[in-house]
Subunit: 253 residues, 2 copies
DNA sequence: AAGTGGTCTAGACCACCGG
DNA sequence: CGGTGGTCTAGACCACTTC
């Protein structure tokens, strides 16, 4: 049966709308420019506001738009490349580290973390909270779990808690010889506390990078880092300047 | 998941609903089990269907649920780890390659790809389409751009197009000495063709992995791979068996 | 044909930001 | 305060799968 493609399956309105808006962004708007508000845009395209919002949500997910309550919708700059796996042989806290320690507590980690670390489920570990800023914007929040056995010489005298103690833990970590670091990336949604730190609403899409630091044949530390998915492109290796995705789509066929 | 009314709470209903559902999934459901339909669930929680759907969308984004039109909503298995950066010194198409060539065309790539490859914008390149299957499910679709200069000995006689030509291009690629491969990961939404291949609806969230293969000091090939974000956890290095994210949240504080 | 999730509407009110 | 995006409702119809 050769050809009977007569029936044009109408694509969803919000999908078509997204395409139209995307082309308009390429041709008629510049970075930082504010769009008309949602009610005006919906009226202009003859759709309900909810439908218009569905299109805007997609564009925000793709990093094309930035929306802020009480302010408006603006055209987002291209995603910034954030180096994640540059040097596979450097501990967190070393030189060239883009992270800034915030504080440090000692507490029982989630069961999955304890399993990955190989510690008992009820055993406390040092939990270092760090944040990462790039181009003046917060881009990631991290929890670094360090079992006491990895930093045996850490004295309680150093600092009971806070950023000073965080730095002490990181400093002690440098004394181990790092063999390898393995990472995994997956999609998640921001918890309330991470959202606050990343200047987003709870539930915002994030890229969760889990990194296992291996020293002496065992997992000496575990990092769970939460990156803003709308503004970040995670780079592994030297990916300087290359920008491929999200251009006008000219598809090979 | 008993009889349930949502207690009045300052946080958004859909957010609270998501938490309640998440806990129910942990305690009262097993992988593959089907949930009640959306209309019933909404009635049970005393919310509008749209609000219930907002909660389900989040859970699907986090890989907890799988929804299929005409079928229902099921509890998703844990995300599968998909190896992305195992061996930084292997060409696509080599042994241990999880990809399956689909076809190959020669066409002018998008401008951004041409720039990354260092070819002229109007120059045609070999475009190999591949798909990746894991545990019997499609997990990724890829476009591999190979400039003719990287495969000079490719004869037109080999095969004009199709999977045979794709294999020929990959085979020729092996002859170059691969120096390095650099990757970047970002969030995107599935185009119509990718969505079809991944068995998802257009616009579904995907992880876009862009990889640059460097040989002889220049970019010899460029891969743009689109992974299902709901079912995949991308692993760089040996991350076997480690499963950290998405557990009951016990937060250090 | 029946039942599922996906799309869409036309309203309403709320939370937040700025002047 | 007025204007913005964020949440929520109660419907309707559509596309798809299964029986």
């Amino acid at each position: 049966m050769g050809t009977t493609q007569l029936e044009p399956v109408p694509e969803p309105k919000y999908w078509h709308l997204k395409t139209v808006l995307s082309e308009a962004l390429d041709s008629e708007f510049s970075v930082g420019e504010i769009l008309p508000n949602e009610r005006d845009l919906a009226a202009r395209f003859g759709v309900a506001r909810a439908t218009l919002r569905q299109a805007l949500e997609q564009l925000e997910l793709e990093g094309r738009l930035q929306r802020r309550r009480g302010v408006g919708t603006t055209v987002a700059p291209p995603r910034m490349g954030v180096s994640v796996g540059t040097d596979p042989h450097s501990w967190p806290g070393g030189p060239e580290d883009a992270w800034q320690p915030v504080d440090c507590t000692t507490a029982v980690p989630p069961a999955a973390v304890a399993d990955a670390l190989g510690t008992a489920r009820e055993e406390s570990v040092h939990t270092v909270r760090r944040s990462r800023v790039s181009h003046g914007r917060p881009v990631a929040a991290e929890l670094l779990y360090v079992p006491p056995s990895s930093v045996p010489d850490l004295t309680g005298i150093d600092a009971p808690s806070g950023a000073a103690r965080a730095r002490a833990v990181l400093r002690e970590l440098q004394r181990l010889e790092l063999e390898r670091q393995d990472s995994a990336v997956e999609l998640g949604s921001a918890r309330a506390d991470d959202a606050k730190e990343l200047d987003r609403l709870p539930g915002a899409p994030v890229l969760v990078v889990t990194t296992r630091f291996v020293a002496g044949g065992r997992t000496a530390a575990l990092s769970v880092a939460t990156y803003r998915a709308d503004t970040c492109r995670l780079t592994f290796g030297d990916f300087g300047g290359v920008q491929v995705h999200h251009g006008p789509q000219a598809r090979a066929s």
